[in-house]
Amino acid sequence: MTKTGAKKILEIKNLQQHFGSPSNPIKAVDGISFDVYEGETLGLVGESGCGKSTTGRSIIRLYDITGGEIVFDGENVHGKKSKNELKKFNRQMQMIFQDPYASLNPRMTAGEIIGEAFDIHGLYKDKKERRAKIQELLEAVGLNKEHANRYAHEFSGGQRQRIGIARALSLDPKFIIADEPISALDVSIQAQVVNLLKQLQKERGLTYLFIAHDLSMVKYISDRIAVMYRGKIMEIGKADDIYNHPVHPYTKSLLSAIPLPDPMSEKRRQRIQYKHTEVDESATYHEVGDQHYVYGTADLVKTWVANR
């Protein structure tokens, strides 16, 4: 799956992540491949349990992968690494978590949380310099320097998520994995956080892997979208193509379930039920359009394309 011009920052090749006993494993991620290009946002969507969060966590080394290869900036992520190499990798890739209540240490101030990585990586040893950097990060996410001395419980949900974002930015990473960063927030606050993520991407040239189940928000923020189901990517393509010309029946079913703020069209809504067809060994990715790939057997994909 290639795209001309842009540089690949992340390559996932046949990634497998199994849990449980090796004789009867739970295949949370069951052989997926995709690339992420520098400066883009790739949305990863699917129902709970489809393996989308596991994929994100495997990429950032929170799990030891069962099989496959993850290449970040030309280097194998899961290869044997010395402490220094690991630190270098961690500086490049960071994560924003779903629950802004659970992902901040309640006994640390916002400033300590954001600056914790500086101690680990031996950065900004000068106190003044450190304070200035923390202040800069707080301002970048729309908070101010007075907030540095407050504890997590003194912030609202949206503000906490901003601290989580400031922490992810503290080491100037290139790549950020955002695992459902807005699901726990109110609608009006969701919009604030999404706008902030977009603006930071523009200013800092960040690349995002945006994991979510809210499809309308994913459509809005992503350049490309991958649709996951039962540990496999069913369809991947440009956001507009996925929404306007879906090919895989699962994508169609998922799209037909999004409620829109338009009562008259909602009255007419026809939901498309999805019936999973088991595929045999020959199933693979088929190109159905520019940068648009669908998983299935040759025959199935042919019928789907005909019914498009």
């Binding site: 129902e47 709970s48 609202s156 949900g157 949206g158 109110d186 609608v187 009006s188 606050i189 969701q190 919009a191 604030q192 999404v194 706008n195 977009k198 603006q199 189940h213 809210d214 499809l215 309308s216 928000m217 459509k219 809005y220 923020i221 956001a239 929404y243 079913s253 998922l254 037909s256 379930a257 999004i258 409620p259 829109l260 703020p261 338009d262 009562p263 008259m264 069209s265 909602e266 007419r268 809504r269 939901r271 999805y274």
Partner: protein, 351 residues
């Protein structure tokens, strides 16, 4: 017109806390007809859940205080009822579906017994009849193999199936009013769509009235007949679903509609946001509670609370912008453009 089954008049609820008295619900008025669905929308802390819990008298006292107001259910005021009298109403005439199906079921009890428990409590039937009815209910809410499922524990069910069990329990005593507090928020979109269809079907068959609490405007558009938008413990706009979505009058409603991305949204545009955060209700602001976050706020907004202005026979909004002397503010572009798009699509459909 069908008959009114619920009327809430000037409901005010406070909570005593260490920080002071929190005015969570500040004078809420609405009514509900038989077979109708009213959606209450608002951000967290707007008082929507407190209002719905108050209808069931589920506010713990203390720290909660019913400061004033009436809850007239079929003409009878529920506020002065004792706990014992209320337990005849709860589950029987008014039932509730909660957000989290994980925590609203008893993990140590088979689901069948959780349903028959309600039936035996409220109906004079034998145990066998109750079991028969429970299996009927499980079938009705779309659970396959109901006889087998009857003898299973909640952990053996998926999230969507658990929420169906919760709905079956709520329906067990044929309630006239169903209060659903964010019943689909914890579910996936595909499961959410199934649950919404199920609730609509139940309503069609039994003329149950539904109060649906949510912050998802897409869900509101799908299920509601009428909508009440809540902010800082008050209803700020109230009307039919078409009034609210195609002719919104309150700047807060504009904000809510604008902050939701649309599938046709231009991705280069930033989303409209509502700046700031909701006010502290221990000390509600003077005047219009929304003034501090309202880009159209006028001097009077900081002085005097606006009354409910009537827009049409069905549509009301609490904003000074509707006063005859107020400047005429057009809908924000993003919202206006979207509504135009929807109406154009509708006109096309009808051709």
């Amino acid at each position: 017109m069908s008959k009114t089954i619920l009327e809430v008049k000037d409901l005010r609820i406070n909570f005593k806390t260490y920080a002071g008295l929190v005015h969570a619900v500040r004078g809420v008025n609405f009514d509900l007809k038989e077979g109708e669905t009213l959606a209450i929308v608002g951000e967290s802390g707007s008082g929507k859940s407190v209002t719905s819990n108050a209808l069931m008298k589920l506010i713990p006292q203390p720290p909660g205080i019913y400061e004033s107001g009436q809850i007239l259910f079929n003409g009878r005021d529920l506020v002065p009822l004792t706990d014992k009298e209320m337990s005849k109403v709860r589950g029987n005439e008014i039932a509730m579906i909660f957000q989290d199906p994980m925590t609203s079921l008893n993990p140590t009890m088979k689901v069948g017994r959780q349903i028959t428990e309600v039936i035996l409590q409220h109906k004079k039937v034998s145990k066998d009849e109750a079991k028969k009815r429970a299996i009927e209910l499980l079938t009705q809410v779309g659970i396959p193999f109901p006889e087998k499922r009857y003898n299973q524990y909640p952990h053996e069910f998926s999230g969507g199936m658990r929420q169906r069990v919760v709905i079956a329990i709520a329906l067990a005593a044929d309630p006239k009013l169903l209060i659903a507090d964010e019943p689909t928020t914890a579910l996936d979109v595909t499961i959410q769509a199934q649950i919404l269809e199920l609730m609509k079907e139940i309503q069609k068959n039994s003329q149950t009235s539904i109060i649906f609490i949510t912050h998802d405007l897409g869900v509101v558009a799908n299920i509601a007949d009428r909508v009440a938008v809540m902010y800082a413990g008050q209803i700020v706009e109230y009307g039919t679903v078409n009034d609210i979505f195609y002719n919104p009058k309150h700047p807060y409603t504009w904000g809510l509609l604008g902050s939701m991305p649309d599938l046709d949204n231009d991705t280069d545009e930033l989303l409209r946001t509502i700046p700031g955060s909701p006010p502290d209700l221990t000390n509600p602001p003077k005047g219009d509670a929304f003034a501090a976050r309202n880009e159209y706020a006028m001097a009077i907004d900081y002085e005097q609370e606006p009354p409910m202005f009537q827009v049409s026979e069905t549509h009301f909004a609490k904003t000074w912008l509707l006063h005859p002397d107020a400047p005429k503010i057009p809908l924000p572009d993003a919202v206006a453009k979207r509504i135009e798009g929807y109406l154009a699509k509708e006109a096309q459909e009808n051709d």
